[in-house]
């Protein structure tokens, strides 16, 4: 694609204040996650059993958990897991889902039927048993975790993309491109994917939080992070149990989680508007 189009998009993205804020926040969180081992105030596993759960203080800015571990440190380390899981699994789901949906929707006919029925089959398989088996076969492995999550999350993505592509592929400009002899791949790449990207981006920004929470559930089966390391999903789940007694254990992880999702969302909206060729003249 031509450079100016992307540059335009970037300009538009930056001019959108909310998405600018979102981008800065996400960048900040990512940098923080990357340098966590250098700047974390405590060891994430270090317990101070005599201290126990304590409210935020000068020593522990966000308080400590029931074993007396520093919450801020645990959240910082947790962000490494959650961000990695959230982004990578979403990328996997996005890639498979978009490709699958586009091909099915564009090809139509038998190919479409078969591809979408495969999606139906995968929907029907008991996920818990699937995960337990994966664990038996591959052991505890974060890469595997992304695969397991990606393997489930792309299904809905594929359905959304397919319906989008199907409605687009009947429109005039696609038909015109076909008539002009543009190759199928060319049509998919140049016309279908860019035009279907709006709902895809929206759905992708919604997928990230889902996956971060799914990670906490997979930890239950022993597939997620290994104690004493934690993740945002796990911190939130543990915090929810004791929200009446130790509010900080729920509030701070939830806040970090929600802010990240808000930001992602602003970026998503900004990206969609920026990439949409039709919004340029409005």
């Amino acid at each position: 694609m031509n450079n100016s189009l992307w540059k335009d998009a970037l300009d538009r993205l930056i001019s959108n204040k909310l998405s600018l804020f979102g981008s800065i926040y996400i960048l900040f969180i990512i940098v923080l996650a990357l340098i966590t081992p250098l700047i974390a105030p405590y060891d994430y596993a270090y317990q101070n059993l005599d201290l126990g759960p304590s409210a935020p203080s000068a020593l522990h800015w966000l308080g400590t958990d029931t074993l007396g571990r520093d919450l801020l440190t645990r959240m910082m380390y947790g962000s490494r897991v959650s961000l990695m899981v959230g982004f990578l699994a979403t990328m996997v789901a996005l890639t498979i889902g978009v490709l699958w949906g586009t091909i099915a929707g564009f090809s139509g006919g038998k190919v479409d039927t078969i591809m979408m029925r495969i999606v139906d089959v995968l929907y029907g398989i008991p996920f818990i048993i699937f995960v337990i088996l994966l664990m038996v076969i591959f052991g505890r492995n974060l890469i595997l975790l992304f695969m397991a999550i990606g393997a489930v999350e792309w299904l809905t993505m594929a359905r959304i993309v397919r319906s989008q592509v199907m409605s687009l592929s009947k429109q005039e400009f696609i038909l015109a491109a076909e008539a002009m002899g543009v190759s199928k791949l060319g049509i998919i790449y140049k016309h279908l994917i860019p035009n279907a990207i709006g709902p895809v981006i929206v759905y992708a920004t919604l997928t990230v939080p889902q996956i971060m929470l799914l990670e906490a559930f997979l930890s239950f089966l022993g597939l997620g992070v290994q104690a004493p390391l934690s993740s945002w999903g796990l911190l939130i789940r543990d915090g929810a149990v004791s929200m009446e007694e130790y509010w900080w254990l729920l509030i701070f992880p939830s806040l970090a989680f929600s802010l990240t999702l808000f930001s992602l969302n602003f970026i998503g909206d900004g990206l969609r508007d920026a990439l949409d060729p039709r919004t340029s003249d409005s």
Binding site: A45, Y46, Q47, L49, D50, G52, T66, L67, I132, M135, V136, R140, S219, F220, L221, G222, Q226, A227, P228, D238, V241, S242, E244, E245, Y246
Partner: protein, 533 residues
């Protein structure tokens, strides 16, 4: 507009639904209905095939055995048997039955017990607790299919109201076993009307079909919702029963149970969320109850894995465990640090308590064993996923790291994977717990005999096995206890299992519930319970 409309609709919905709901606990002063939080949904209500605590609580209301447990002290009280004689060698028991009746009006006879024990011991029924009756002559042989003729087993009906039982060895705890649900009677005609004598999943346990002889009868069973039992008019001691109904609510989520208790939906909970224990002890000291429970929380060690095959390493692991810190700062439920496998026992068995917390000695043992922090391999600690187990494991990981320099990897899995890994010996250290079925050290120590299903450590010690055989054949309680004490000393020296703490029962109880007295087995006969202002 739509928004507003929905909002109004919702508000009306909310307002309309409030006020009508009088919390059941409040109305129970009138209705005399007891509402209980009862853990997981029962599998079935057949006393010979079930195994769980929730089932046992319900069976306590529905079926009565030869004896019942005293509501405070647990010593056996007459149940269907009004009294009994024990021969001087402790091997022959004669029970004299009272005029008791089934809920359909039939009399409860000695033959009912013979039939029931026969059924329970039939190998084809697949009962998981047949060992409760193994002290009876030939019961084990019959259950294992070595003999087919039940008349060779030592239980006979002399007449309709006299039951004679012969034991293969004196068992001072035998009468107490007869309060356990697996030894209780079932109604022959009902069983055979709905299926075979030995068919598991027989439909006789459904409401409408169920015939029992307990203080209550089964009224309703809504899966995952409620099991309702109603006062039985045919129960021999019906005058004593003060409750009209009991509703057993299956609640396997402690947070939800806590909400239900606080909103007046249940009188007694089955547990309290860990985070709340401390708070409730301060705020509601008269509602929270913490009592010792006849069970031990321990770590099981696979002694076939290096370096755990070395006794000194196991001793070092135990010595570097600060049990008091675990109970006070981590578990926080009033648990008692355990320095022996068998819990402290009111029957005056005092287990050897040689274990201690001594990190210095632990370090030395590890050195003697030839290990330094550098050449110690990483050890895996396995537990089933639960916040409580995880916290203890995390604390233990830090203690062992600090005191011995051992690196521990924590592995959590779901329940079935956890069980199957222990069964197949695919673990190094695993968290475990054991609750005694009856108050006798035997119910703990038997487990570690060579090849027993729950040994699972690969540990085998001839002297230990022999001591337990000697104990079984002892004629006096003091001699028995002496052998068991010696056996436990071996166990606590070898440490294929490392005890951590003695369990407690922690539950909330509404002040209107009277007669719900704490006891070691958390066993409560409902005929002694009432609801009063």
């Amino acid at each position: 507009m739509k928004y507003k409309f929905l909002f109004i609709l919702f508000s009306v919905f909310l307002i309309g639904s409030c006020g009508e709901n009088v919390p059941p606990v409040e109305s129970s002063y009138e209705t005399k209905i007891l509402y209980l939080g009862n853990g997981t949904e029962p599998k079935d209500l057949d006393p010979h095939t079930v195994t769980g605590v929730p089932e046992s609580k319900i069976l306590m209301a529905l079926i009565e055995g030869l004896v019942i447990r005293h509501p405070d002290g647990l010593e056996p009280l007459p149940g269907v048997a009004k009294n009994w004689d024990i021969s001087s060698d402790g091997k022959e028991y004669v029970f004299y039955l009272r005029d008791a009746f089934w809920s359909n009006g039939d009399p409860v006879t000695a033959n009912d017990f013979v039939y029931s024990w026969n059924r329970m011991l039939m190998p084809s029924l697949g009962s998981q607790y047949p060992d409760m009756l193994y002290d009876v002559v030939n019961a084990e042989n019959f259950n294992k299919g070595l003999i087919d003729d039940f008349s060779l087993v030592g239980v006979k009906a002399i007449d309709a109201q006299t039951l004679k039982v012969n034991l293969r060895n004196p068992a001072p705890y035998f009468v107490e076993l007869l309060a356990h649900y697996t030894t209780r009677p079932v109604h022959k005609a009902t069983i055979e009307k709905h299926g075979e004598m030995d068919s598991m999943g027989n439909q006789w346990t459904r409401p409408g079909n169920f015939v029992g002889n307990g203080p209550f009868t089964l009224e309703d069973w809504k899966l995952n919702q409620v099991i309702r039992v109603k006062k039985s008019p045919t129960y021999w001691d019906a005058d004593r029963v003060k409750l009209n109904e009991i509703h057993f609510l299956p609640i396997d989520n402690p947070t939800r149970e806590d909400f239900m208790f606080r909103s007046g939906r249940i009188h007694v909970t089955s547990t309290v969320p860990t985070e709340k224990i401390e708070v409730y002890r301060e705020q509601y000291p008269d509602q929270i109850t913490i009592t010792p429970y006849y069970g031990t929380y321990y770590y099981r060690i696979n002694i076939n894995k290096s370096p755990l095959d070395n006794k000194l390493v196991r001793q070092a692991l135990s010595l570097s465990m600060d049990r008091e810190k675990i109970t006070d700062k981590v578990a926080k439920g009033g648990q008692i640090p355990a320095f022996s496998f068998t819990p402290p026992d009111p029957n005056s068995y005092f287990p050897p308590t040689t274990l201690e917390y001594n990190p210095e000695a632990a370090k030395q043992l590890l050195e003697i064993a030839g290990y330094t922090p550098e050449n110690l391999p990483t050890i895996e600690l396995l537990y089933n996923t639960s916040e409580g187990h995880q916290k203890i494991a995390e604390a233990m990981q830090q203690m062992w790291k600090e005191n011995l320099g051992i690196n521990i990897v924590l592995t959590n899995t779901d329940w079935k994977v956890y069980l199957s890994r222990q069964n197949t010996g695919d673990y190094e250290i695993a968290r475990a717990g054991w609750i005694g079925d009856y108050q006798d050290p035997k119910s703990f120590l038997d487990m570690m005999v060579t090849g027993r299903g729950n040994n699972q450590t690969g540990w085998s010690n001839e002297e230990y096995d022999n001591l337990l055989i000697k104990a079984a054949n002892s004629t006096s309680q003091s001699e028995r206890f002496m052998h068991m004490y010696e056996a436990e000393k071996i166990l606590m020296d070898e440490l294929p299992i490392i005890p951590i703490y003695t369990y407690t029962r922690i539950f909330m109880k509404h002040q209107s519930v009277k007669g719900w007295n704490p006891n070691l087995l958390d066993s409560h006969a409902y005929q002694y319970i009432s609801i009063e202002e």
